[in-house]
Subunit: 404 residues, 2 copies
């Protein structure tokens, strides 16, 4: 008789956003007259920028003629896109990353879930707490996390690095030594950022203890402050210890278009083995490339027109962020984030738990947020709102919350 | 110090098609004057059908307006596509598969590589020999295949089911009992097919011994004979033991568009655990959906116009297949396949090995095929040609081979 992967059965409950989706759908079905405003899941609402639409149409037309039709993409992705990324995201910021260290994918969620595969079973992972659930869940599926303590909501073999108001939502170097460190800055879910010297400390630590950093920079486009690094490769020595994950979902509204990339510098090695070669093997064996038309859309993100239009799009969302931040602050909420990230992190009022506040907000204000506890035990009593709604909905949602 | 997944180091050489690509590129670079014709990798060459182009443009326009913009797709894929699949690929053939048993993905390569993740470490896999390399390679990466014997080119914990001229390229029930059986019909690489009674034997066997069948039906659109099943669910009891993988790459030319799906009937269980729930969890945690515009393109495959146009496209490729089959037969080659599949499988002449014939054909005829030995030990001395070239190139390639 065949056997299943028993690790899957250890996962408590379903994926956070699936649970939220079900709750919201149930509420909406029971109350068809209510206008539910969703500031929960980090999905964007603004349409694709004109430069991207134009690139998509053009690429679709290419697929209509035998002379310009494109079949399987090159393993790492098309050069036109990898070159644009290397130039704009890295060389323009003084980072020494070349096009052949960039792997195009269909999104940072897949990459952040799949990247653990190239590491051995016995590695100990460290994560911020709260944290994007995919990092831990995919390590659970791989059997790397030990035993679940349902009271504490923690795994025995995971090192949790609490990020709370007490440490300004910045993780501290853990006492126990990790092998793989997941960092995400600007942070999902707390919306916090760290400075370049702070990130340099992590790079130095990883190089000292022989750890690898998986750096999720999905929200870098929202950075507004000068001293906040856009890439971990701005730090010295990061090429020796860090993998960087990037997404087009939030900087260009590609949540439904699907495009992302992973950077693995060739100098990043375990003994003689380069992680680049392992990821290349995985990419070539288990993946078949992002669609040609989508890679062309990605290229348009870096065109002068695309850049200009997307700057406006991000400004639009950050105006929402400011409205939420200031609106809730003035209503007496304890709020952070929203300056270098599209997420606002607030403390549930009146000693409510995260899910109590979720239910309360859904019920009384018809506003959907994300319970902080869904991101880890230190997220309990916190709550995440996103700036990705329309301005009108954001204003209405904040005003409803203020009126409670 | 972090540790890598040592299983990756066990993989002999690089992924087959990457190796071929490198060889061909090197030859083309050294002989810029030669016109190399590629009948190797199974990539299509005909442009997307007009109905699909129209659907793509329409969906792109939807992404340009806030009212019709789509962000994250539903976990399993859009209902419009899953309904079209359930209706056309299954209910129309009398298979009892519902839309919520269908998981949309970005292609059958990813699905066939990822599906092993939901199974435990201790399962013994059985594969046809020769076989699409992804099935074995991804189990190697997961540490499920034992020790590699480089002389025999086999893994100690894999059950190989030889498919050669002696058994008409149809696998026989293995002596040793497998837990997971990979079957692909119409077959890649041999181009062979099996009848419904033959497939029913496999279903009955799997149900008897408690094995699960992973049935890759990527080439079903090429079936021309009456008694060949298009889906494993045409067989009685298949819902209890079989997962089916499907692709849009070959029936609709989506190799560069990326779309596929996996069917897991809800009745397929290991004890109390449904495989459907495990795959749903994987899909929800490690994947974020195929692009909206691509899912709309998939829907167009099932429109009356789409069906009519794609029937012509398949007829075009099958005309190529016939030309190769008959041309090589008349030149004295031992050839099979090409009737229910776009692949022609031939015996290398004069006692040559598969790679010797590859090099010879590339050098003397400037034609690229795929060495049979790349698909497994029983593929040695065989060679695969695909019907996916243009008709003109196919004719020229066959005529060049005949002239050798």
């Amino acid at each position: 008789m065949f056997k299943i992967n028993e690790n899957y059965l250890k996962l408590p409950g379903s994926y956070l956003f699936s649970t939220i989706g079900k709750k919201v759908n149930a509420y909406a079905a029971a109350h068809p007259d209510k206008k539910v405003i969703r500031l929960g899941i980090g999905d964007v609402t603004q349409p694709l920028a004109p430069a991207i639409i134009e690139a998509l149409h053009k690429a679709v037309d290419e697929m209509a003629a035998a002379e310009t039709f494109r079949g399987y993409a090159p393993d790492l992705g098309y050069e036109f896109l990898r070159n644009a990324i290397a130039e704009n995201d890295y060389r323009a910021r003084g980072c020494n990353i070349s096009a052949d260290e960039i792997f195009i994918s269909d999104g940072a969620k897949c990459d952040s879930g799949n990247i653990q595969e190239i590491f051995g079973q016995g590695n100990k992972i460290a994560v911020c707490d709260p944290v994007y659930p995919v990092y831990v869940d995919t390590n659970v599926m791989a059997g790397r996390t030990g035993v679940y303590d349902s009271a504490k909501e923690t795994w025995s073999d995971v090192i949790y690095m609490p990020c709370t108001a007490e440490n300004n939502f910045a993780p501290e170097i853990p006492k126990e030594r990790p092998d793989i460190i997941y960092l995400c800055f600007p942070n999902n879910p707390t919306g916090s950022a760290i400075t370049k010297p702070q990130l340099q400390e992590w790079v130095d630590y990883a190089n000292k203890v022989g750890a690898v950093i998986i750096y999720d920079a999905a929200y870098e486009a929202y950075i507004s402050e000068e001293n906040v690094p856009h890439s971990i490769y701005e730090c010295e020595g990061a090429g020796l210890c860090a993998i960087e994950l990037r997404s087009f979902s939030k900087n260009a509204g590609f949540t439904g278009v699907r495009l992302g990339f992973t950077v693995i510098p060739k100098e990043l090695k375990c003994g003689e083995v380069s992680l680049h070669s392992l990821w290349a093997r995985r990419h070539g064996t288990k993946y078949n490339g992002a669609p040609y038309i989508v890679q062309r859309a990605g290229e348009a993100v870096y065109s002068p027109e695309g850049k200009r239009q997307l700057k406006q799009q991000i400004a639009y969302y950050m105006k929402n962020a400011r409205y939420i931040l200031e609106g809730l602050q003035s209503a007496g909420y304890t709020v952070s984030g929203g300056v270098n990230a599209p997420y606002i992190w607030l403390k549930a009022p009146g000693g409510m738990s995260s899910w109590e506040f979720f239910d309360d907000l859904l019920e009384r204000a018809n506003v959907v947020g994300t319970p902080g506890s869904g991101f880890g035990p230190s997220g309990e009593t916190y709550f995440r709102l996103t700036a990705f709604g329309s301005y009108e909905n954001t204003v209405e949602a904040v005003d409803r919350i203020r009126a409670l």
